[in-house]
């Protein structure tokens, strides 16, 4: 079988050979075999990183997804210890009927535990619970040149700091122990409020974030002038009562990627306009956790909608004091470029410190935009957005990135040298090569 591995954005398209790890006891051997075929390799999970942080510099990746066994679980305390390839979906399928939820979840449940640690992912409750790594108790780490080790917030803290958010470079994460969050119901009491411009978003966020475990906003990034930054603010709490039911929605799959992108000027304008109008100024409803946290998971392979060339996500975070002006400038630059985004997501990040040295969130506001890949997107748009982010002392999210300059990375993540110092010499990614050597 011809095996291939692509990042979620399908850009850059760099061929990757795949080796699978099926058993923890064979990890050292498989790591050695992968190294026999390339000078270095890179452990990868379920391929949900957007850019080139999940592509091996050598073109030889080590797929950890088959390591999908639970090692131990205590339903009295909500502690689960599982192999690194277990996905968040698999954790939820087991934990929800027993009254436990993920303490932090990104916008897709199709990421592995190892991937969630390596990218120190965050979610709609960052302002309350911080990043995923804050809830990790222990990590098993296998290095190419020394005995395996166990690290956590209380043991081997140096290794923990370079492994959480460490982009899979400090060693191969083979298992993770996570503290889950107790819930009484799998339903979410949600509220949606439409806002007419960016200032209103900041007002809503300031007013409501404190009373909701989860909050996020969608932005119509094609709106200009007075309407710049209009959108829908969505917030929610776990319902206090109701069933504990695993989400079993039927999924629709995009069967193949068309040659051209389905996302273009016309479809964007239609979608953004309709989506805004489809929301009433204010609505309260009780919804399942599936549609609330993972609306896009309903469409398998939605990334194919961008066609053969793929897409890039631009996700940055702008510190609190510069957020209002910075986000406005970013949105104006996007609107002016005419290259709109299908989904523009705005999220206020809180001030809970991440345990990882390279964790992305910081107190401030994060903006995420998806763009179909064009050859001139860097020159025409991203360089402009980068200048705004830089001026605001913000930073870009490595898990989503395929374009940031080495200088921007090193300025925004000054601790990168500590990670480089502890990097397993057998592991490196295209991303790491790009941002540390150029």
């Amino acid at each position: 079988m011809t095996l291939s591995f692509q990042s979620w954005g399908r850009y850059p398209a760099l061929p990757q050979r795949v080796r699978y790890c099926h058993w923890r006891d064979e990890l050292a051997r498989v790591l050695g075999a992968a190294l026999g075929e390339g000078d270095t390799t890179l452990p990868v999970g379920n391929g949900r990183s957007y850019g080139d942080s999940c592509l091996a510099a050598s073109g030889q990746v080590l797929r950890m997804r088959p390591l999908d066994r639970i090692i131990a679980v205590d339903w009295a305390t909500g502690r689960i210890e599982a192999e690194a390839g277990v996905t968040l979906e698999e954790v939820l399928a087991l934990s929800i009927p027993r009254g436990w939820f993920l303490p932090v979840t990104p916008g897709t449940r199709y990421v592995t535990l190892g991937g969630a640690v390596a990218n120190d992912v965050h979610g709609k409750n960052h302002h309350v619970r911080g990043t995923f790594g804050r809830h990790v108790r222990r990590i098993g780490l296998v290095r190419s040149e020394r005995a395996p080790l166990v690290c956590g917030p209380e043991t081997e803290r140096d290794w923990f700091a370079v492994t959480v958010g460490g982009l899979g470079l400090s060693g191969v994460i083979d298992w993770v122990e996570l503290q889950l969050l107790p819930i009484r119901s799998s339903l979410v009491d949600s509220i949606e409020m439409r806002f007419d411009n960016l200032d209103e978003f900041f007002d809503l966020s300031a007013l409501h974030d404190a009373s909701y475990e989860y909050s996020v906003a969608w932005i119509d990034c094609l709106a200009r002038g007075n309407e710049t930054g209009r959108g829908v603010y969505m917030a929610g709490n776990h319902a206090a009562e109701g069933a504990l039911a695993v989400d079993m929605r039927r999924q629709f799959a995009l069967p193949f990627a068309p040659r051209g992108s389905l996302v273009n000027a016309v479809s964007l304008r239609m979608f953004n306009g309709v989506y805004y109008r489809a929301h009433s100024p204010m609505a309260r409803k009780r919804v399942g956790y599936g549609p609330f946290f993972y609306p896009l998971d309903a469409i398998l392979h939605w990334n194919r909608m961008y066609g053969a060339k793929g897409f890039q996500q631009y996700q940055c975070v702008v510190p609190e004091d510069a957020a209002r002006e910075g986000i406005r400038a970013l949105l104006e630059a996007v609107a002016a470029s005419g290259m709109g985004s299908f989904l523009a997501v705005l999220k206020r990040c809180g001030d809970l410190a991440s345990p990882g040295l390279l964790s992305f969130p910081m107190p401030g506001v994060s903006l995420a935009l998806d763009f179909p890949q064009h050859d001139d997107i860097d020159a025409k748009l991203f360089s402009r957005l980068d200048a705004i982010t830089r001026a605001a002392s913000g930073r870009l999210y490595p898990a989503k990135d395929a374009h940031m300059t080495g200088a921007d990375f090193r300025r925004a993540y000054p601790a990168w040298e500590q990670v480089e110092a502890k990097r397993d010499p057998a592991l490196t990614s295209r991303f790491w090569q790009r941002v540390t050597r150029s």
Binding site: M1, Y20, I71
Partner: protein
């Protein structure tokens, strides 16, 4: 609650089946060669809700130990509702063509050890008078292809053995299902250059197996389209079949 015995429990298809059976609440006895891996599977099944899992280390080619291990499994389970016989290897056909010892060893792995185990198991199941034995054979046993005929001949032996045994067990109230998977994406086949359109994952096959057992199927082709492909292939006259590079 089902009581389930699995031989070859570390195989990808067997693991996928076990996870499906766990949902209804189950007790397992797992037989396999690698103790560490059996333990990993046992912990996983227990975390997923299995009531009890016992592991039994056994190299299935050690025929003289079958009865003893089977006895231990019966002691752990008391009664066996489902026995899945899933062990096997995928031989290197080229090597089997030049080395008699390899050829016979592989035949023993895939046919002799299965027949030996089934012989012991059948007596136990006959005595208890109910339950299902599900045996993983292969579409490869339906016709000997030049690229894989050592494996194919071993699976043909298993298929024919099961056909007869099914009749015998039927009179005792025990059901036997022969499973004939096509191309499955597992560690055993990953190095092969298989036609991707025909390949399915072990979860797909496991779903078919679990349902096949519930419905009391005699022979299960999985995925379903092999039930149409194989009769066509069997119907080809030898004068043509020998010319096809399959």
């Amino acid at each position: 609650m089902k009581r389930i015995l699995i031989a070859g429990a570390t195989s990808a298809i067997a693991m996928a089946c076990a996870r499906k059976w766990v949902d209804g609440g189950a007790r397992f006895a797992l037989i396999g060669r690698n103790g560490e891996r059996l333990e990993a599977i046992a912990r996983d099944l227990e975390a997923r809700g299995a009531e009890h899992v016992s592991v039994h280390r056994l190299d299935m080619t050690a025929l003289e130990l079958h009865a003893e291990t089977l006895q231990a499994c019966y002691e752990a389970l008391n009664v066996v509702d489902i026995a899945l016989v899933a062990h096997g290897t995928l031989p290197d056909q080229r090597e089997c063509e030049t080395s008699v010892s390899t050829a016979l060893r592989e035949f023993s792995n895939n046919a002799v050890s299965v027949i030996a185990f089934l012989t012991a198991l059948a007596q136990q199941m006959e005595r208890q008078g109910h339950g299902t034995i599900a045996v993983i054979s292969s579409v490869a046993g339906d016709r000997g292809r030049r690229s894989n005929y050592l494996y194919g001949s071993a699976k043909a032996a298993v298929t024919a053995f099961c056909e007869g045994l099914r009749g015998r067990l039927w009179t005792a109230g025990v059901h036997l299902m022969t499973i004939k998977p096509g191309f499955v994406d597992t560690p055993m086949t990953r190095h092969l250059d298989l036609p991707r359109a025909l390949v399915v994952g072990p979860e797909h096959v496991a779903k078919d197996i679990v349902r096949g057992i519930e419905r009391g199927k005699n022979t299960l082709y999985t995925p379903w389209f092999w039930a149409w492909i194989m009769p066509l292939l069997r119907g080809l006259p030898d004068s043509i079949f020998k010319r096809i590079r399959l």
